[in-house]
């Protein structure tokens, strides 16, 4: 996490999965520097009027009425529509691009070639299907599509690498300049070979997870409008400031000349953290056409080029001693993040103590769209591999897998101290109680008939600390209105509502008494909404800005009340003396004392108002039909903490969402590439399967509030352990291990078949 935050702050948006996986919470983040201003704190728990309550999101009505304008919805005067031409080939040399017919089509205002047939390397080649070749802007979207069809490209198709295995095979063609496979990295601690020799039981197996695409409902893209040398870009992004810097850098114009706006955005899940090439193309088209241009990707392009969760493979040997203490974990791992992109993940998953461990990892490069950060990068993969191995070890020991976890899960470094970020030892029994673990049968449902029932569990960890780079501004106006401004963005998590909650709580006003303004680079810097840093960054910094503003108001009001400013409190819409609440005035009367000069106070992120490190567990109860291979998840139980809960309602939604996305990863989602051409077989939403209403089990969430810690991010944690818990439940049901995701009917039938012909257990 520390490493990741550094990356974010450095403005480097090339996030690579795996570099973001944090060590166990104890090893995290040196304490931030001492605060500049007076010490700041959250109000005492008993005094909180909004924080921790179930607050409805402020933009709910606009969204439910279809009035919220997303980037995709905005229409600017005189706006043109842009479209891209992507390579139909996963690997090809571009031998010629003829734009002339497209340029002549009525209604076409700009055409750009994005590859150069004479160019070197990636400039003259397509390295994956959808790799951008050319772009057009026209008066209607239909004409833009016609124009794209008129562009003639001469391709020389080259042999493509569709799978990690193909890339790693000895006779693979040399596709990538630096080789098809990365150097092997090595992580190790202790003597793995010796430890394995000492183990009472050893499990050996190969485990794998598929490529998952983000499938944000709003596709990537933006609207670019020039006014002279100044560019305004409405972008569907998780990072307005990152997008601004990326666009300015690519166009080689000053960052001050670019303004990025994201009022509403329709999902990103990590894929919209980096600035997007298509927005740069959009800006170039707009410049060329001298008109605003909207360029939004279509669904197929979204699947192909906007990132994914890389695949993961692990050949594992793991050992446990006769007393149920884990002794060693040895893994040779690989995976593919597509063209030139990494696929790192860290095993064993760091919440279990394996005294000796070793991981040798290689990235395999394939002719597919490069990966991007995807909600808890590396974690669901590592969690699946580790938790399934744990259950297999428990079976060898004939021990309850829950008991094995209790004996080996991390706890506080100092046993006399409670570590609020390492609560698994408490949460596993809580979850077990809720799911009815005592009724769980040993592996293999003994019931007759084709429907088998089973239970499984898994744990998770995440950092979620705030970013020290965060800044915020709070204004109190003479008419009593309050403006809370911060250059963050609401990606569906409820950030806009969070900002208002913090401001209103601080001013002692109702939510309607403050206005939250976000999603604009004209507002103070806040980090991209990635790594679950937003709630900690934004709420801590906004609290400081608001307290600074409120203290200025206290200073104005104090003489009128004949007290020191420090004796005042803002409560129930009044400024009043703490010890004599009847002595005071209404908020509006107080603000009138400002005359014509509003208060404007800034805040910089400070320590103490937020924390880092979360723990959580999930349990699954499933039914598997061993005749059809179809798995139905009946129930998920989740126990999760996230420090201080800021808004209970939206926090719960976040957990529902993570679990459901985890179910997709467990059961349905799979980016399928044709093994010969490396073209995607299912770049749509009918064959790229996402969970739907009828697939949703009963979900039982226990959110553990830690009101004294300050908030910690919650976006990532709930997605991590769902697939692992479901996989363990499936094995518990059918008595056979399925060592790969997704747990599709064919994968389950295949595993059952292998069991009949020799066994996997």
């Amino acid at each position: 996490m520390a490493r990741r935050r550094k990356k974010l702050e450095a403005g480097s948006w090339k996030l690579e999965a795996g570099t973001q996986q944090q060590p166990p919470p104890a090893a995290q983040a040196a304490p931030p520097p001492a605060p500049q201003g007076p010490p700041r704190n959250w109000p005492p728990v008993a005094d909180r009027t909004l924080i921790g309550k179930s607050i409805k999101r402020l933009d709910g009505p606009d969204k439910a009425q279809g009035k919220a304008k997303y980037t995709y919805d905005i229409i600017r005067p005189g706006m043109l529509y842009g479209r891209l031409l992507g390579s139909p080939h996963a690997h090809a040399r571009i031998k010629g691009i003829d734009l002339s017919a497209a340029e002549k089509l009525a209604g076409v205002k700009a055409v750009l070639a994005l590859k150069d047939p004479a160019g070197e390397g990636a400039n003259g080649k397509a390295f994956y299907q959808g790799d951008e070749i050319a772009a057009v802007a026209a008066t209607t979207e239909e004409i833009a599509e016609d124009a794209v069809r008129l562009i003639k490209v001469e391709y020389e198709p080259l042999q493509a690498l569709a799978t990690a295995a193909q890339a790693m095979s000895a006779d693979a063609p040399a596709v990538f300049p630096k080789g098809n496979v990365s150097q092997q990295s090595l992580q190790q601690e202790g003597d793995v070979e010796a430890a394995l020799k000492s183990a009472a039981h050893i499990v050996e197996g190969t485990y794998s997870t598929q490529v998952q695409t983000h499938t944000s409902l709003e596709t990537h893209g933006g609207i670019c409008e020039w006014e002279g040398e100044k560019l305004t870009a409405w972008v569907s992004t998780q990072a307005v400031h990152g997008a601004r810097d990326g666009i300015a850098g690519s166009l080689k114009i000053p960052q001050t000349n670019v303004r990025v706006i994201t009022d509403y955005m329709g999902g990103g899940f990590g894929s919209k953290l980096g600035f997007d090439y298509q927005v740069v193309v959009c800006a170039r088209l707009a410049k060329l056409a001298n008109a605003p241009v909207k360029l939004m990707l279509n669904r197929k392009e979204e699947h192909l080029v906007t990132g994914n969760r890389p695949s993961a493979y692990a050949k594992v040997r793991a050992g446990v001693d006769a007393k149920g203490k884990l002794v060693a974990f040895d893994a040779e791992t690989w995976g593919t993040g597509g063209a030139g992109a990494g696929a790192a993940f860290r095993v064993p998953y760091p919440i279990y103590v394996f005294p000796s461990r070793r991981q040798r990892h290689r990235d395999a490069y394939t002719n597919a769209g490069p990966q991007r950060a995807f909600r808890a990068p590396g974690h669901p993969q590592a969690s699946f591999i580790t938790e399934v191995v744990l259950d297999e070890l428990a079976d060898k020991l004939r021990l309850d897998p829950l008991e094995l976890r209790m004996r080996n899960v991390l706890s506080a470094t100092d046993p006399s101290q409670e570590d609020p970020s390492r609560q698994w030892r408490k949460y596993f029994p809580m979850g077990a109680e809720k799911i009815g673990w005592s009724k769980r049968h040993p592996t293999g449902d003994p019931a007759s008939g084709p429907i088998k029932r089973g239970m499984g569990c898994a744990g998770n960890t995440w950092g979620g600390a705030g970013s020290r780079a965060t800044r915020a501004n709070c204004q109190i106006l003479p008419d009593g209105s309050v403006l809370a401004r911060i250059g963050t963005q609401d990606i569906g998590t409820g950030t806009r509502t969070l900002v208002a909650i913090v401001a209103a709580e601080t001013m002692g006003l109702p939510l309607t008494g403050v206005k939250a303004e976000i999603g604009d680079t004209n507002y103070p810097f806040a980090p991209g909404s990635g790594g679950s840093v937003t709630v900690a960054s934004v709420s801590a910094t906004m609290r400081i800005a608001c307290e600074n503003a409120r203290d200025e108001l206290f200073a104005k009001v104090a003489p009128a009340l004949g007290v020191e400013p420090s004796a005042l409190a803002a409560k129930d819409g009044r400024i009043q003396v703490k010890d004599a609440p009847s002595k005071g005035m209404t908020w509006r009367e107080a603000c009138k004392l400002l005359g014509v000069q509003p208060i404007s106070a800034d805040g910089a992120f400070g320590p103490g108002l937020s924390s880092t490190g979360t723990s959580g567990v999930q349990f699954a109860d499933v039914e598997v039909d061993i005749e059809t291979g179809v798995t139905r998840v009946k129930r998920i139980v989740c126990v999760q903490d996230c420090g201080t809960i800021m808004d209970k309602l939206t926090a719960e939604s976040q957990v529902y969402g993570g679990i459901i996305m985890g179910l997709g990863f467990a059961l349905y989602e799979n980016r399928i590439l044709d093994r010969n051409t490396a073209r995607m077989v299912n770049p749509n939403m009918e064959w790229y399967l996402l969970p739907g209403m009828s697939d949703i089990p009963e979900i039982d969430i226990t959110l553990v509030d830690q009101p004294d810690r300050g908030p910690v991010g919650l976006g990532e944690p709930p997605v991590i352990s769902t697939a692992a818990a479901v996989a363990n439940a499936v094995a518990n049901a059918i008595g056979v291990r399925v060592r790969k995701l997704p747990l599709s009917p064919d994968a389950i039938l295949q595993a059952l078949n292998e069991e009949r012909t020799g066994g996997t257990l």
Binding site: A64, G66, G267, N298, G692
Partner: protein
């Protein structure tokens, strides 16, 4: 998940319509194309033709090429952007509108086919500034996160409750199975649809 649903018992005609796109069915079954062998049918297009659409109680005159979908006509010609374009091929429900009382995927119907129909979108459900009871329930239950799928879910829920004000959990799930949410709001969307207050504000008809 739409394709999977066909294999399940209880697969409904409605979900079939949603799966293949109401456009195709309307043209094949209900449309004026019943004229023998297409004779005497006036050819339209390929140039833009004037059409009239009745959306949210207002008549709009516009010119569109026959290939323009109802969704694109609403969004890019009329600036009615509640219906979203997500999959653009009838599998996600984000573009759901209510057309003559039943839900259709507006991405899978041509604008010219929608003439003479009563079209309602999420925007049209609000009366003045007063939220429709279903919209209110979505907000109360937090049945929305990023909100991109929300107008589609809201219209699907309204259409359900107009036909069946007291749906069972199973009926409500089935009626909302044609819509996809990526944030994972399903449990709360379902609670919103099942909240009796939702149906209380629904006009039967």
């Amino acid at each position: 998940m739409a394709p999977k649903k066909k294999d399940e018992p209880g697969f409904s005609r409605r979900s079939f319509l949603k799966t293949v796109g109401a456009g195709g069915v309307a043209a094949g079954v209900l449309g004026p194309a019943s004229t023998a062998e297409g004779q005497n049918v006036k050819a339209i297009g390929p140039a833009a033709s004037p059409i009239q659409l009745n959306v949210n109680g207002k008549f709009h005159r516009l010119e569109v090429e026959p290939r323009v979908t109802l969704l694109d006509a609403l969004r890019t010609r009329l600036n009615i952007t509640g219906p979203k374009r997500v999959c653009d091929r009838g599998s996600c429900g984000a573009c759901t509108v209510i057309l003559d009382g039943r839900t259709v995927y507006s991405c899978s119907m041509l604008a010219i086919e929608a003439q003479g129909k009563v079209i309602r979108t999420a925007e049209g459900l609000t009366e003045g500034t007063v939220l429709h009871s279903v919209q209110r329930a979505f907000c109360d239950h937090d049945g929305l996160m990023c909100g991109f799928c929300t107008p589609g879910f809201v219209t699907a829920a309204v259409a359900l409750l107009e036909k069946n004000p007291k749906p069972t959990r199973q009926e409500a799930r089935k009626a909302l199975d044609g819509n996809i949410c990526r944030c994972g709001t399903y449990p709360r969307v379902l609670e919103a649809a099942l909240n009796p207050k939702s149906a209380a504000g629904v006009k039967r008809g």
